[in-house]
């Protein structure tokens, strides 16, 4: 069934890594095949942060094939070489796990399409996120396991969205885990709870328009669908409103950009969402207990209605 959670602090920063971990851990009974975080951290905004993987976590239940670490090293070398050829300077490099890397890159461009296509043309390499604030971290296991593995509990930022996944439509692996980056847009991420029934029709149309899909997870369609709308000038909110009719199935999803957070619910309201809204904080999740992990006191919450789209700014 999957669980999603998100929060946005308005006018201030907070320890969003720890807060989101608490929210997602409260939802772990909704799925713990994999957990993902999209954290919008406090940065100086100068450099791009690229989170990418050069292989898969082949843990228990994984649907991926085991590869030797030397293969990861070789892929990393090609990534470094490609970045150098494009004139992108790696300012800081972290290799959290053999297959998972974080680069801070000094690169002057507004069009990430060409950049991303060249990096992802390297076999086995996938950009998990690209942005000046956004970092997508996702891996197998529940929220606490992933948080501990990547030391996310001290990440300070303004907003975040996350996903606790029970794999149904595709494999148990990182590439099918949420959040999905809104390729090729800087700082756009998506998490989704539900099933999309016109995935393949939409995918064919969008691929013909030059958009890219990395997995066969139906949820990835939302990120690509909205990214394509924004590519043609739509605002985030306009793209989300169009998705209510363009996407068929049952869904509640969140989209985040570097300064906003939005939610959309399908016209049948088949998937749950509970929302808390105040002047300085918006917190939402598949169940109230997710919100209670950051706001244990008695609060007023509500379920958004069918076909509802809301967007908040930081």
């Amino acid at each position: 069934m999957c669980g999603i959670a998100g929060l946005i602090h308005r006018g201030k920063s907070s320890i969003v890594g720890s807060e989101l971990q608490g929210m997602l851990q409260a939802l772990k009974h909704r799925g713990e095949d994999s957990t993902g975080y999209a954290l919008y951290g406090d940065t100086d905004g100068k450099n791009f942060i690229m989170r990418f993987k050069v292989g898969e976590n082949v843990g228990e239940g994984s649907s991926s094939v085991m590869e030797d670490v030397s293969v990861y090293d070789e892929r990393k070398k090609i990534v470094d070489q490609t970045l150098a050829e494009m004139g992108a300077k790696v300012v800081k490099e972290e290799r959290t796990l053999p297959y998972s890397l974080r680069y801070e890159i000094d690169y002057d461009t507004k069009d990430l399409l060409d950049f991303s296509q060249r990096i992802e043309s390297i076999p086995g390499v996938e950009i998990l996120s690209m942005g000046k604030s956004l970092e997508v971290i996702k891996d197998l296991g529940n929220a606490k396991m992933v948080c501990d593995r990547y030391s996310l509990d001290k990440v300070v930022g303004t907003h975040a969205i996350g996903h606790a996944r029970m794999a149904t439509e595709s494999g148990v692996d990182i590439k099918s885990a949420h959040p999905f980056w809104g390729y090729p847009f800087s700082d756009v991420s998506v998490v989704h709870n539900g099933q999309l029934t016109n995935y393949w029709n939409n995918r064919r149309v969008l691929e013909n328009k030059g958009m890219r899909f990395m997995s066969e997870c139906d949820s990835e369609l939302i990120a690509v669908y909205i990214a394509e709308k924004m590519r043609h000038g739509a605002t985030l909110e306009e793209g989300m409103k169009e998705s209510l009719t363009g996407l068929d199935g049952v869904f509640t999803y969140f989209v985040a950009t570097k300064d906003s957070l939005g939610m959309a619910k399908d016209t049948m309201a088949a998937k749950p969402l509970v929302l808390y809204e105040s002047d300085d904080l918006v917190a939402m999740g598949s169940e109230e207990i997710a919100i209670r992990s950051v706001l244990p006191q008695e609060i007023d919450t509500y379920d958004p209605f069918d076909g509802e789209v809301k967007v908040w700014q930081i």
């Binding site: 309201a269 749950p272 244990p296 008695e298 007023d300």
Partner: protein
């Protein structure tokens, strides 16, 4: 109650509040002989004193632990129990088959007060999905909002939400009354089979979709009608009943019920006039 052994089939059904349906299958007589009423023992029930009051803090309890403790308190005769710090936990207060005055000081998660029969419950907070599912009798009052599937498949009792509710309120309900002080979401009354729903505010799309029977009263705007849901005349007895019910529910006492819309099943969707053949029941 009329003597079920001597009255005609039709009046027998009616006397039991079973509409006009003739009970020809597994008869009610077999299970509920009124002559033996005093010998009935309802498993899991206790003699409680409403004046005997206690508090229970469930902050550090799991739902099964909390529910077991509520049962334990009832077994000690407590008739009024105040639950502190429910903090949105799921499945609190389920399966209570007792007369009980139960008060939650806070919000519940999913499936709160499910499968209950008899308690009077006040929730001073919000409830998640499927609150009071399968309620048989009693009264559940929610002071704030409620999630989707509110009152799913209830058979009886009064279920009252003073705020707004999500989608599919009263789905598959078979009796009882649901009263909403605010707005209601899509598919309200979806496949309802009996009972009544009152919504003082607006309601979403597909109201009363595929309903078999029952009545929905709406005070505000209707997003759209569902399949086979049709308008019906609001009679003076309807208005009297609405006034009484809203007064008891402590909401909308001054609401102008004469302007409410009444929605019922068109009975075109289902083969409603033909009772299931006896031989088919036998095969089952």
């Amino acid at each position: 109650m009329a003597n079920l052994k001597t009255v005609s089939k039709k009046s027998k059904a009616q006397s039991m509040g079973m509409h006009t349906e003739v009970l020809t299958g597994r008869t009610q007589q077999k299970f509920f002989n009124p002559d033996e009423a005093e010998n009935f023992y309802y498993f899991g029930t206790y003699d409680v004193d409403f004046n005997k009051r206690t508090e229970l803090d469930v902050k550090d309890m799991t739902a099964p632990e909390a529910n077991k403790e509520i049962d334990n308190l009832m077994s000690q005769g407590y008739g009024t129990i105040v639950i502190k710090n429910p903090q949105g936990k799921h499945s609190l207060g389920v399966g209570i088959l007792n007369k009980l005055n139960l008060i939650f000081e806070g919000s519940l998660g999913y499936f709160g007060m499910g499968s209950c029969d008899g308690p009077i419950v006040r929730i001073n907070g919000r409830v998640g999905w499927s609150c009071a599912e399968n309620l048989m009798a009693g009264k559940v009052v929610i002071e704030k909002n409620a999630g989707s599937c509110f009152g799913a498949a209830i058979r009886g009792g009064d279920l009252i939400c003073k705020g707004s509710v999500g989608a599919r309120t009263g789905i598959d309900m078979k009796g009882g009354t649901i009263i909403i002080g605010g707005d209601a979401g899509a598919f309200t009354g979806f496949m309802m089979q009996r009972g009544r729903i009152i919504i003082l505010g607006d309601v979403g799309i597909n109201l009363g979709d595929s309903m078999y029977d029952g009545t929905i009263f709406v005070g505000g705007e209707i997003g759209s009608y569902g399949s086979d849901a049709v308008d019906s005349e609001l009679t003076s007895s309807d208005q009297d009943w609405l006034k009484r019910k809203l007064k008891v529910a402590e909401i909308g006492e001054n609401f102008d019920v004469s302007k409410m819309k009444k929605i019922v099943a068109g009975k075109k969707l289902w083969n409603y006039d033909n009772l299931e053949p006896t031989e088919k029941k036998g095969a089952i």
